[in-house]
Assembly symmetry: C2
Homo-oligomer: 130 residues x 2
C-alpha cells in the first residue's frame, strides 16, 4: 500500500461523478503532484482485478475513454442520455434475478457485469417531444 495508491483510491471514493483516467490523474495530482499516468493505469488494473472498482464506457458518449467507480454493493445499470450526457443509475431485483438465471442456465460463473443503456432521459424527452 503506497502513498500513490491511497491517494488514487481516496480520490475515486470522494468523487461524486464517474472519473476517466485523465480527470482522475488531474485530481490525484492535487494531493500528490508527482503521480504518473502509468501508475494510474497500473493501479486501476489491480483494483479491477481485485473487484474493487468497475469500469464503464458510458456508451462512448465523449470519445473512447473509460470511466471508473468504486464497486457498489449492489450492481446497477447506467442510463446514459445521448442528448444531454447525463448519467443516471438504476438498480433492481430483476437484475439480480437475471444474473442468477444466467448462472443457473449456462453454468457461467459471473465475476463482473456491465449493463449500460443509451437513450433519452425523461428531462430531454419532455423538453423536446419528438
Amino acid at each position: 500500500m503506497t502513498t500513490q495508491r491511497r491517494v488514487l483510491i481516496e480520490t475515486m471514493q470522494e468523487a461524486k461523478e464517474h472519473l476517466d483516467v485523465s480527470s482522475l490523474l488531474a485530481l490525484a495530482r492535487k494531493r500528490e503532484p508527482g503521480i504518473d499516468r502509468a501508475t494510474v493505469y497500473r493501479t486501476i488494473e489491480k483494483l479491477k482485478k481485485f473487484g474493487l472498482v468497475d469500469e464503464l464506457d458510458l456508451m462512448h458518449m465523449n470519445g473512447e475513454k473509460h470511466y471508473y467507480e468504486v464497486k457498489p454493493k449492489r450492481d446497477h445499470v447506467h442510463l446514459a442520455c445521448l442528448q444531454c450526457g447525463q448519467v443516471e443509475e438504476f438498480s433492481s431485483p430483476l437484475f439480480e434475478q437475471l444474473k442468477r438465471e444466467i448462472t443457473e442456465q449456462t453454468g457461467f460463473e459471473i465475476l463482473v457485469t456491465r449493463l449500460e443503456v443509451g437513450g433519452r432521459c425523461s428531462v430531454c424527452r419532455n423538453s423536446n417531444k419528438r
Copy 2:
C-alpha cells in the same frame, strides 16, 4: 448505398464471430481491395446511429478493441470467459422485463443496451475447479 457499404454490411452478416475493425477491414478487402480504414469507421458510425449494428467491448479481453454485430431481433447478453476467451450469448424474457421496468420507473427512453458479463464459462470451471 455505395459498394463499400454493401460490402461491409455483407461481411458483417456472413461473419460467424464478432468482428473488430481491423478484421472487418481485412475481410472486406478480400472483396473490395481498395477499401479504407476511415470508411469502415464512418460506416460503422452510421450503422450504429440507425440502430443496425450493436457495439461490444467484450470486457476488453484483448486490448481496447470494439466488436460489432448486426443487431439481433432480441437483445442478448454476452458472456465473456476471462479464462479461455470464449463468448456465449444468452437471452431471456427477464432482460426484456428489466428494460420495461427501467422505462416505466425512470421515464428513460431506451435506444441501445449493452449487457456484458465477465467470468468463467462452464467448461473452464469444470476443467480446473477453483
